[in-house]
């Protein structure tokens, strides 16, 4: 039975479903029996206090950790184990809490590297850097330049990313993820450590990515204001368990959520 591909999933249908996932490291339980879904075209936020298992959840989704229990359905295909590069091939892109760029490479090369999966010219032409290899290089450069323009990082394209300020690094990282033209984009605290202005910029990019490219986004964020403004639906984790799921307004009024954030005497 061949599952439908991403393109065949209509907007609003489930693109990713996490079903009863549990993950533990040794005796430490990071995630306990969590289920939620992401619908195509939406911005889905995962929130929760520190140590709630949010990053672990993303790591499970893109194959970096393998859950002990439960399964994940992506674009109609169910899987329990897969390697990170298989997730990438399947159309999942990702940014990281602590920027995970290729520090020795320029911003341009970082984003170009994001297109590795889409480039297919063979080794022979690569040796000559001619013919199909060159055509491909130029074609993808054009796409990458579109992303660079969209993220307004043209001025730093040939600077090694290791020396860039943090805010710009975050943008380059987003660019690298966009270069993969993903069906699902996972953003791990895209606004951590940013000032207000940078946060506003980043929010705008995220909304634009969602609107113009139609990319489905799942993001983790601490800034509640940002989360409530950006996302269509929110799932709340606490101590590895799901405690609420719904629209920002519903979640905001949820008693369990308020308790988790403000603390409550049990």
């Amino acid at each position: 039975m061949r599952a439908p591909t991403g393109d065949k999933i209509a907007a609003g249908e489930t693109i990713l479903a996490v079903e009863n996932v549990s993950l533990a490291f040794g005796g430490v339980k990071a995630i306990t029996d969590v289920s939620f879904d992401v619908r195509k075209g939406e911005i889905r936020a995962i929130i929760g206090p520190n140590g709630a298992g949010k990053t672990s959840m993303l790591n499970v989704i893109n194959g970096f950790y393998w859950p002990q229990h439960g399964r994940i359905m992506f674009k109609g295909e169910t899987r329990s184990k897969m390697r990170p590069h298989e997730a990438a091939t399947g159309g999942i892109a990702r940014t990281f809490q602590n920027v995970a760029l290729f520090r020795g490479m320029t911003a341009l090369d970082n984003i170009m590297a994001g297109r590795s999966l889409k480039m297919h010219s063979n080794f022979f032409w690569q040796l000559l850097r001619h013919g199909p290899a060159m055509t491909e290089e130029v074609a993808h450069r054009r796409k990458v330049e579109d992303i660079i323009e969209f993220l307004e990082i043209a001025h730093i394209r040939k600077i090694p990313v290791g020396v860039l300020p943090y805010g710009l690094q975050k943008r380059v990282e987003l660019g690298r993820a966009l270069a993969m033209e993903p069906d699902l984009l996972l953003l791990d605290e895209p606004m951590a450590g940013m000032n207000l202005e940078e946060k506003e910029d980043m929010s705008r990019y995220i909304l634009d990515v969602n609107n113009f490219y139609g990319t489905t986004i799942a993001l983790i964020e601490h800034d509640m204001g940002v989360v409530m403004d950006l996302s269509d639906r929110v799932v709340v984790l606490d101590y590895g368990r799901k405690i609420a799921d719904g629209t920002p307004d519903e979640v905001k009024r949820d008693k369990a959520v308020i308790d988790a954030y403000l603390g409550v005497a049990h």
Partner: protein
């Protein structure tokens, strides 16, 4: 079939037929294993305390032995007599030289490279290796020398033990080496576990920056640990020199400490010992019983291949902690 017989049956038949030879081979392996372990111990000391993979440890062994012999010759030429006085004087002076070396390494190599990636420090110790080879040869000459075992009153001769229907030969110097190695290992283990400076050493190994911020002096720690590694190197050099000769050809043998480290893990003193024994015994047995099948000399690579196969099974070494990757 014949080949399989030669690989899987014949060597064990030989072992059974001549158990005295087997014991002799095991003993030889044990002794060279002890010496590998001693070199590996120097690596572990430095790695534990500074996170530096000190490629130069093997050369420090040769350098220390060469300095000892060279200083002894110099003292004798100046008329210091008798021989054992000169020898012990030279020993003291060599310890001094190892201290100067530790200080120099800290000042000129480690301090300017604080907080650099590990691989940069690793490569810097390559530079140190070559610097020491050149320096040692320039000062003391490149020809091989004889260790002053007699004047240091190291035991010589051997004990023949009648057992298992034959004779097994134990060199006294080998026994001494094994004893000295055990004492050193025990001493270091106590030092690391129960002294204040030992704890500071372990703190530094975890994080340079964090250690600095709680007021541990990196400079002192590094000097102490490189000095300690230098003393271990000197002891190793004396033992090794007494068994063969003192020359830079030992460098190749010193590299054998690397597979030992891989087996034992970079941070474990017991690991270094166990790894050393496995490699030492493994390669002697391999050479003696399986070597004739392949043509002799497999000793030169057997240790590395054992380590490589082992790594594939357990990438963090025998006693190393499991590495959990986070992102």
């Amino acid at each position: 079939m014949d080949l399989l017989y030669k690989i899987f049956i014949d060597p064990f038949m030989q072992m059974g037929q001549a158990p005295d030879l087997l014991v002799q081979t095991l003993w030889e392996g044990l002794v060279s294993g002890v010496l590998y372990a001693l070199i590996a111990l120097g690596f572990v000391l430095i790695f534990k305390a500074s996170g530096v993979f000190n490629f130069a440890q093997g050369i420090m062994v040769v350098f220390a032995a060469l300095t000892l012999v060279g200083l002894y010759a110099l003292l004798r030429r100046w008329g210091v007599a008798p021989g054992d006085l000169a020898a012990y004087l030279a020993l003291l002076l060599t310890i001094g030289v190892m201290f100067v070396l530790a200080v120099a390494v800290e000042r000129l190599v480690l301090r300017p490279l604080v907080n650099q990636p590990d691989i940069i420090l690793f490569m810097a110790t390559f530079g140190l290796t070559y610097l020491l080879i050149g320096l040692g040869q320039l000062v003391f000459g490149g020809e091989s020398k004889v260790m002053i075992a007699e004047d240091l009153h190291l035991p010589s001769g051997s004990i023949e033990v009648k057992m298992l229907g034959g004779f097994v030969n134990f060199q006294k110097i080998d026994i001494a080496a094994a004893v000295i190695a055990s004492v050193m290992v025990a001493g270091l283990a106590v030092f690391f576990q129960s002294t204040r400076i030992g704890r500071a050493l372990r703190a530094v190994a975890d994080s340079h920056r964090a250690a600095l911020s709680v007021g541990i002096s990196l400079e002192q720690i590094w000097i102490v640990v490189w000095f300690a590694a230098g003393i271990v190197a000197l002891a190793t050099g004396i033992m090794w020199g007494a068994r063969s000769e003192v020359s830079f050809a030992l460098e190749i043998i010193a590299l054998k400490a690397l597979p030992v480290l891989i087996l034992g893990g970079f941070t474990s003193i017991p690991g270094a010992i166990v790894g050393g024994l496995i490699i030492g015994i493994g390669e002697k047995l391999g050479e003696f019983y399986w070597g004739p099948l392949l043509g002799s000399g497999i000793e030169s690579w057997l240790a590395y291949v054992i380590a490589l196969l082992f790594l594939l099974y357990r990438p963090q070494g025998l006693f190393g902690e499991r590495i959990i990757e986070r992102i």
